[in-house]
């Protein structure tokens, strides 16, 4: 973990309520699947947001405007942010096999971008399934394609790509391992139909984001874990579904 001041160099909409922000500052040690924790004026708790990309002193995040904090971020044009970086365990790419499958749902898509980049750089053949509710919500399809991944888009209402959920597209794809991030019902559905091992990234309401407060604990078959510190990525074999 590191604390730093980051300069907002870009903050633009990708869809009606999803924004892309680029932050310039120290990027040493930032890994795929990790998150950053942003302090905002007038709000007590920091806002944890997953890292979409990180290179050359610039961190890219993609966030959905859902509450007070993200609304405040949406309205920022420029300025500096107090940010904690290097939070969470991130994805482990060493176990992916030759042709991993990446499945993202909504704002669960962004952390898979940096992961896809890394897997492709390691010489792996990457398939990506991006799931959204409807056509107007789709983002980053072209960006994944530009990396060299095979991309399938699903929409729940069938207005774009394959109709249905990400799991409806899984059957046609041959994969050695899977990585996913998205809403918990999606993670659970993937857990149930997947034919290989995999890594799932979870979300929980956090206090500190760096392992001190025990606000985001969960039970796993490998013992109690803190989503912020021991996660957010858990391996399929350790997960206990409680909710």
């Amino acid at each position: 973990m590191k604390q730093g001041i980051y300069k907002i160099i870009q903050n633009v909409p990708l869809t009606d309520n999803v924004m892309l922000m680029k932050l310039a500052g120290d990027t040493e040690g930032v890994a795929c699947g990790q998150f950053i924790n942003i302090k905002l004026d007038g709000l007590y708790l920091r806002r944890p947001i997953s890292v979409c990309d990180c290179e050359d002193g610039v961190i890219t995040i993609i966030y959905k405007v859902v509450g007070k904090g993200t609304k405040q971020m949406q309205d920022m044009k420029e300025g500096d942010l107090d940010v904690l970086t290097g939070l969470g365990n991130g994805y482990n790419t060493s176990v992916s096999g030759d042709n991993p499958l990446l499945l993202g749902g909504g704002v669960g898509v962004p952390p898979l971008y940096m992961l896809a980049k890394k897997l492709i750089a390691e010489g792996k053949k990457v398939s990506v399934v991006l799931g959204f509710n409807t056509k107007s919500e789709v983002f980053y399809e072209d960006e994944f394609r530009a990396l060299g991944a095979t991309v399938t888009v699903t929409t729940a209402d069938g207005s774009y790509g394959t109709k249905g959920f990400v799991t409806d597209a899984m059957g046609d794809i041959d994969y050695s391992y899977f990585y996913t991030c998205g809403p918990e019902p999606m993670l659970k559905a993937i857990y149930n139909v997947s034919k290989t091992s995999g890594q799932l990234s979870f979300e929980e309401r956090m206090g500190c984001g760096f392992g001190a407060c025990m606000g985001c604990s969960c039970k796993t078959l490998y013992g109690n874990k803190r989503i912020c510190k021991d996660g957010p990525v858990l391996v399929k074999e350790e997960i206990i579904w409680e909710k």
Binding site: M1, Q3, Y44, L45, E204, R205, C208, A212, S217
Partner: protein, 303 residues
């Protein structure tokens, strides 16, 4: 530079700053960031006789100038704290640590305190009779003078180190409880634990916290802490450790003027992991600004 050292129940602290239990784990997350030996000491994660997972999530809710938590005393249990956590802590902290203890019966408290009392690393026992997030224990001992005194006496009987009783603000007369603890042999009082609070999510029309209610902390509660530290410090002869919403060097001095011998910093650590380091480094400047030569001289300065 002014003197920052204070004496807490016979043990000298380089400065009065103590990260509060539950906001500092067992120290190592913070030791990654800075040398935690600069702290006066710190109070480690509330420890119980048996391991506890705690409450279901969500356990955290944001408030204006504060937060609510309902962690529910998640901890590995006293055996593992002694066999695993304390040896790890020894690698990054060479001062005496404050052992924070909770229980569900008088016997629990005595059992856990007796074990921790035997550890060389432990300097003080901070006995939490004020956790708002567990049923059938915790706060129920801290809301009655007789029950708080019973826990105090039972712990004192089996321990040799200074015993500091941590009190709840969720009572009508905190002075009577503090006095009961003092009469039962307590060596110090720490206060305040969190205020019982609740938030409701307008979208779901349900409580934000899975456990419905939780402990409210953060800068919003600071005036309550000042008032209660003032009331208790003027009623007892033993040292008072003040806490509740402290987030600056100015806050530290204010609580000491109210009667605190040392000051715990809680929620601020969760927002800014460098909070305690920054406060300690800022204290000399603030002391100079207010013409304070020695912190120990201002304790209880407001009559």
């Amino acid at each position: 530079m002014g003197k920052m050292n204070v004496n807490l129940c016979g043990i000298e602290l380089d400065n009065p700053i103590i990260p509060a239990s539950g906001t500092f784990g067992f120290g190592y997350e913070f030791a990654e960031l800075y040398d935690i030996n600069m702290l006066g000491t710190f109070s480690f994660k509330g420890t119980t006789k048996d391991p506890r997972f705690g409450n279901p999530t969500p356990r955290i809710a944001e408030c204006t100038a504060g937060m609510i938590n309902a962690v529910g005393l998640q901890n590995p249990g006293v055996e593992k704290v002694i066999s695993e956590e304390l040896p790890k802590l020894a690698k990054c902290f060479n001062k005496k640590v404050m052992a924070n203890v909770s229980g569900f019966s008088v016997e629990d408290y005595a059992y856990t305190c007796e074990k921790l009392d035997k550890c060389d690393q432990v300097g003080w026992l901070e006995v939490n009779v004020s956790c708002p997030n567990v049923h059938g224990g915790g706060m129920s001992f801290g809301t009655s003078p007789a029950a708080a005194a019973e826990v105090t006496a039972a712990v004192k009987k089996v321990t040799t180190k200074p015993v500091i009783i941590k009190l709840s603000p969720n009572v009508t007369d905190i002075v009577s409880i503090a006095k009961a603890c003092e009469n039962a042999g307590a060596d110090g009082i720490s206060l305040i634990n969190t205020l019982l609070g609740m938030r409701i999510d307008l979208k779901t029309k349900k409580p934000v916290i899975a456990n419905t209610m939780g402990g409210f902390s953060g800068s919003a509660i600071f005036p309550v802490a000042v008032r209660m530290v003032y009331q208790v410090a003027h009623a007892v002869k033993i040292p008072v450790v003040g806490m509740g919403g402290v987030s600056s060097a100015e806050d530290v001095i204010e609580l000491m003027l109210a009667g605190a011998t040392a000051v715990e910093v809680g929620a601020a650590n969760l927002i800014d992991p460098y909070a305690c380091k920054n406060i300690i480094e800022d204290l000399p400047r603030v002391m100079e600004e207010y013409k304070i030569n020695s912190l120990s001289e201002i304790i209880g300065g407001v009559k």
